[in-house]
Symmetry: C2
Subunit: 346 residues, 2 copies
Amino acid sequence: MATGARSRKLEIPGEEAQNIFTLKEMADGLRIRNFIDQNSPRQAVIIGAGYISLEVAEALWDRGVETTLLYRGKFPYSGLEPEVGPIIVKELEDHGVRYRGEVQPRFFEGDGKKARQLVTDQGSFPADLFFIGVGVLPNTEIAREAGIMIGKSGGIQVNSLMQTSDPLIWAAGDCCEKLHLVTGHPQLVPLGDVANKEGRVAGENAVGGRAEFHGIVGAASVKVFDLQIGMVGINEAQARKMGFPVITQVVEGTSRAAIFPGTRPNLLKIVADRSSGRLLGGNWVGWDGEAIKINTLAVAVHQKMTLEAISRLDLAYTPPFSPVWDPLLIAANLLKRQVGGNRREA
Amino acid sequence: MATGARSRKLEIPGEEAQNIFTLKEMADGLRIRNFIDQNSPRQAVIIGAGYISLEVAEALWDRGVETTLLYRGKFPYSGLEPEVGPIIVKELEDHGVRYRGEVQPRFFEGDGKKARQLVTDQGSFPADLFFIGVGVLPNTEIAREAGIMIGKSGGIQVNSLMQTSDPLIWAAGDCCEKLHLVTGHPQLVPLGDVANKEGRVAGENAVGGRAEFHGIVGAASVKVFDLQIGMVGINEAQARKMGFPVITQVVEGTSRAAIFPGTRPNLLKIVADRSSGRLLGGNWVGWDGEAIKINTLAVAVHQKMTLEAISRLDLAYTPPFSPVWDPLLIAANLLKRQVGGNRREA
């Protein structure tokens, strides 16, 4: 079963108008492109601020459409650290995309065929094109009808062999939940690389082989105009909610040796367990390689490395590509002093 | 003791001429710049092909000097895998820098003050400016006179506290040897980030603190014009020489999703121990982030990860910055099939 996922809807009145779009498949993208080609919209409103919405904002900007991005949360991209939020908003606004956080959509106003404005709790937003990017829902109807177990996340339950509750049925991709190795819980992670790995495992096992998919650490990256955002593990709020004694460190560093042309600022925040010193997650944002740099943390989180172990890493240094002290080493060196301490939670 | 290192010489006749340069300190760089400003050399010959020589080749190209690079080995940069060599040579030649490998310098010809040509076993190379970049030698004279132990590498012996054989004397930087965590042996690694870390440890301990420097894994990167070269651990030849049962994998991948604008080819080679499956090292070269990507391998080598563990990594995927299957995952997946096999060494 590789039934995938479908775009979530807002479930508000007027949502079926023909100038309101979602984007999950190639055909959705072509539909948006045709609409722009034929109608030359002047204004667009995007509802939602996940990576699809952020990428659509950039694509609309590229087509010269004046765009406003509305989101229910304070800052774009749910799951990122609050320190990262203002940096994303600035990147959007530097490119002429307006951002409004903490907005709840109520209904679309229009003639039924064509929506003219989105009415929200924060006023009305007129546009010629509306885009809804509020996540996806796993397609589990067939699985449910077949009596296959569905997890609390809403995705199909699978074991590490990608076997469902029916041992003769395997599943893979966005319709399944995945084991998060930091939280220890299954969750939905609709990402292409994860689906691809699961597909290989399910396929191999379905034809008599033996392969395993061992789970994820939440490694992801996204490009917002020139800004690169990398994330892995769990964030501070998630770690606190799970009951970890949390310590965090923010390092504002540079992407290259300070004297090297092209160096840009970046921001790294790491989250660790104060008792064990184990790294639980991190966000790294900047304009010069941070979407790649996050993989250094991805390995560290996967290996359950402590801050002490991370502070001992030997990383490649050369002025065009890194400062002499990598921000990750600075962060680990600073934060490891707090490990094992008995100070109270803030 | 932080006596550093000095540029090695060729120890051949004529080497003292005033148009022959080395580069170790700021003053050396200013001297070369002044010479170029005042003499507008047309032709330069570089002897040696380590990272300093390669960076000088780029700097001379930038100043419009016609440059030839000569090296004793077949391909530039000793210690890299032979698969990487032709890629570096092509990058040099694409920028108009001529490369000649397997050349042994014999003597400089000139009037004593000014060298006119370098005579080698492969003919004579005339130039207005000569640059010798054949590595550095640790400055250990003071240590020797003080009766401090010098290691086989030629550097000052230190323990993880950066303490010399005299427990009241600490040392740090290019004058010391460093423990290589893959080979288990001390060696010379004259790199700025390593020296910097050692200096902190030596300084802290010398004033009564307690810090440790735990060694290196040989992580390094270099920029050659637009090419990025990352390396870590030991290469295939070194691993064989040490007696490891060696397996290797080369993956020719792309830097981004194949459909994404700006994607470039890259080459990854990894080396592992066939018995244990442990990653021993890797080289990653390309034009789009490989100097940063090598840090993923640096953590893996540091953690003594096996190919099986590496193949389970969850790395960040987004089309502008990575292919859906990271070349490292492809390499680990392919190579892990050979682990534990009993095929004979080639």
